[in-house]
Amino acid sequence: MVVFEKPHALTDVPMHYCPGCTHGIVHRLVAEVIDELGIEGKTVGIAPVGCSVMAYNYFNCDMIEAAHGRAPAVATGVKRAEPDNIVFTYQGDGDLASIGTAETVHSAARNENITVIFINNAIYGMTGGQMAPTSLPGQVTQTSPYGRDVKLCGYPVKVCEMLSQLDGPEYLERVAVNNVKNIKNAKKAIKKAFQNQIDGKGFSLVEVISSCPTNWGLTPQNALKWIDEKMIPYYPLGVYKDRSAAKEETK
């Protein structure tokens, strides 16, 4: 009996991510969910610009590569034209929370019936480790070599908290993938975000606190510890909005 194997929705193409980068874990979770919901044949994924730009090579469903930050707009077009397709975007923090902030906020405000997987690893990985909109105060990066000075460049953008103020979105949850327990929770959240779309509930975003060992300058193991020690205290895990659950409670 097979206890564990590569999900069908993942291709056999070896991923280009650095050793220990948790992008691969999140890719697998998305693929497992696609398998379990039996939706591979009608799913269309939108890849971002950033480390996961080549996600189109790793998923077996139809894929579109979008311009930097525009994935939610592209997803909007796909979903409006083909409402029966299941449409997800996979975006990093620079893509979703910096250059694509408007697309993120407005697709959420419209409660666009799409699923957004948001990788927050507090750095620009692909370009070699520059300060991200989500880099922590004091975090040393290539473009904040003396540590992120909040007087100079402001504070990190907390996406789930920000979007939770909107009436539009259906579901917002922040998870992490730095240990087995958190990964299991992350999968539950991702599954719910896809199920919500199938049920026509609307905009569902899962923010995944992820590691970037290479650009954080840490071993893969220490990078996972850094998530516990630095990232999660600043970005608390949990459900930030769940409109359907809230409705249930008030019944």
């Binding site: 591979e40 269309v44 189109y56 090579n57 139809d62 979008a66 909007t76 077009g77 034209a81 697309e103």
Partner: protein
């Protein structure tokens, strides 16, 4: 003879798009093209289509990118500053070989410029308009009827060549009213096996993409794309010749400038000056052949433009600088008067097309 109705250019264009099978429109308000969005907002919900006012021009063109990826006919419209914002998307559409229709109802620039008619986005439209090697098919209407006709044509060409078609109109064409006939024989869109609408678990996954990190591969893709562009140049050039049989002075003009020029030519002919006009309808591909041919008999060309002189460069290239080409222009929202064009014709005639 089909029935004619009196319509505004922007509205005729919008209705023609719907007739051509476009069911998805994304836009952002900007003068002087807002009637297109308003018209679509009214019509699309009634026919099961999508009208969505995007948060920005950038979002609108990327929504177009999304719909186009699914194979459906889709459009957006804007005016000059908004088209600059769409530039990113235009480049990605080209890089991913996606068909789309984009309308630019031009206004004066640069910057915020003004809201009156202009043709100063000629370079932007015909020379690519954003980063990378690419072209759009650029169609220049000179009447409300052509606003509609070229919209239908634009969709057909976009699908045929997997390119963006741009209708490059100006504020005058958008705003004026004329009788139009909207009867078209719409051919079904070609099959789009590349579309991303789900594998249905029956084929390999489709990928819409403009990224290619291997230089040899990216070079090959560019060269193949330009072979397609060669086909467009060979097959799709459109222009109108007006009184060119014996013309000694030839006006080059498109859009509103061509209409003004027709009046000037009529008056020049009345005064015994043999004037004529070549009116490009496709600005890209530019009608090089008729200009090259005319350069053998014409003594002088006058490029009449609502810009500081943009199309004039293509006229000079097409005529291989064999004959003088002068500029007769107004800018900033001003339109050359027939009298101004007539003066330019008379001046040219006086010089005898001085070589």
């Amino acid at each position: 003879m089909s029935e004619k109705v009196l319509m505004k250019g922007n509205e005729a264009l919008a209705e023609a798009a719907i007739i051509a099978g476009c069911r998805h429109y994304f836009g952002y308000p900007i003068t002087p093209q807002t009637e297109v969005a308003a018209y679509m907002a009214k019509r699309m919900p009634k026919i099961g289509g999508t009208f969505l006012q995007a948060e920005s021009e950038i979002a609108a063109i990327n929504m177009v990118y999304g719909v186009s990826s699914t194979g459906h006919r889709v459009m957006t419209s804007s005016s000059s500053p908004g088209i600059s914002l769409k530039g990113e998307g235009l480049s990605y559409l080209a890089g991913s070989d996606l068909p789309a229709l984009v309308i630019n109802v031009q206004r004066g620039g640069p910057g915020l410029g003004g809201i009156q008619p202009s043709q100063s986005d000629y370079f932007q439209a015909t020379k690519g308009g954003a980063h990378g090697d690419f072209h759009m098919i650029v169609l220049a209407p000179a009447s409300v009827q052509e606003m509609a006709d070229l919209t239908v044509k634009g969709f057909e060409l976009a699908d045929k060549y997997r390119m963006t078609s741009m209708v490059l109109a100006d504020g005058t064409m958008g705003q004026m009213m004329e009788p139009v006939s909207l009867e078209y024989d719409i051919k079904p869109a070609p099959e789009k096996p590349w579309a991303t609408t789900g594998t249905k678990m029956q084929r390999e996954h489709n990928i819409i993409n403009s990224l290619s990190l291997v230089p040899e591969e990216l070079e090959r893709l560019n060269i193949e794309r330009y072979k397609r562009y060669d086909e467009v140049e060979k097959n799709e050039v459109m222009y109108e010749e007006y009184m060119m049989d014996d013309a000694e002075i030839c006006i080059a003009a498109f859009g509103i400038a061509a209409r003004v020029s027709k009046n000037a030519i009529t008056e020049a002919r009345r005064q015994g000056i043999k004037a004529g006009m070549i009116r490009p309808i496709t600005l890209w591909p530019f009608p090089k052949a008729p200009f090259k041919k005319a350069a053998k008999s014409v003594k002088q060309f006058i490029s009449v433009e609502l810009s500081m002189g943009q199309m004039i460069e293509d006229v000079r290239l097409a005529t291989e600088c064999r004959v003088p080409v002068t500029l007769c222009n107004r800018v900033g929202g001003m339109i050359p008067s027939p009298e101004m064009v007539l003066e330019a014709i008379k001046e040219a005639a006086k010089n005898g097309g001085a070589r």
